[in-house]
């Protein structure tokens, strides 16, 4: 079990560093939800199943939804190579 925990904690730390390093904002939001998902599996292994359920539903699900919707509102919803400012403007009006 300690190997599984080590793998999950390493994944969480790598995703947390990726949040600060990645250029693309959508990828950063995805890395944040990876941290939450790995954390919910760690909670199951630590015998806290109720906390794991809440973390998976609220931390990974609802939080990513809020972050992605606000990305659209902030005009940061840009796919890789999508550098045109007009396309970025469309997200502001939506």
């Amino acid at each position: 079990m300690i190997w599984l925990l080590g793998l999950l904690i390493g994944m969480m730390l790598a995703a947390a560093i990726a949040v600060l390093v990645l250029e693309n904002h959508i990828a950063a939001v995805a890395a944040t939800s990876i941290v939450s998902l790995a954390l919910s599996v760690v909670f199951v292994l630590l015998r806290a199943p109720d906390v794991a359920m809440t973390e998976a539903a609220v931390g990974a699900g609802l939080s990513s939804l809020i972050l992605a919707l606000s990305l659209r509102r902030l005009g940061l919803w840009q796919i890789e190579g999508d550098k045109h400012p007009e396309i970025a403007k469309e997200g502001v009006d939506a």
């Binding site: 300690i2 925990l5 904690i9 944040t32 939450s36 630590l46 015998r47 906390v51």
Partner: protein, 156 residues
């Protein structure tokens, strides 16, 4: 599963998440990254609280069939973490709404540009001209020197 190694691993992971989140909050140049770093620091704090109540040879604190288990994990930190997760998402929604207001007011989310524009706004509200140097003398130049001093000395 050896007990000290497991605790070192778990506490190390929790402290690592908190440190990465705090570094992102302090050194972030973009407001959205700062919000994401806040979420990461929150996850690390939750993990640390759950690890604080962990006992390695225990079962989950759930009573099944009226049987109270002998060795249970401490359920109090788990209940508090359950609340903290939901409060964390509320804080995230509040901070994101403030970020949207900042974006509508200033048109950018870069922290340095926001700081410059906020300083210019505050100066404009206070009526201070930010072009004036803080070290320069206030007021006008001193009076003109009399002709006797400028054209010729007392010896002439």
């Amino acid at each position: 599963m050896s007990d000290p190694e497991l605790h070192w691993l778990l506490y190390g992971g929790a402290i690592g998440l908190i440190v990465i989140g705090a570094a992102g909050i302090v050194m972030g140049k973009h407001l959205f990254r700062i919000i994401l770093a806040l979420a990461i620091a929150e996850a690390g704090a939750n993990l640390m609280l759950v690890v604080a109540g962990l006992r390695p040879d225990a079962v989950a604190p759930i009573i099944t069939g009226g049987m109270i288990p002998e060795q249970m994990v401490d359920p109090v930190p788990q209940a508090m973490v359950l609340t903290a997760i939901v409060i964390g998402v509320g804080i995230q929604a509040l901070v994101l709404s403030l970020a949207i207001r900042v974006y509508k007011a200033y048109g950018t989310l870069d922290m340095r540009e926001i700081r410059l524009k906020m300083a210019a706004d505050i100066d404009a509200e206070a009526g201070v001209d930010d072009e004036v140097s803080q070290e320069g003398p206030a007021g006008e130049r001193p009076l003109e020197l009399p002709d006797a001093v400028t054209s010729g000395g007392p010896g002439q």
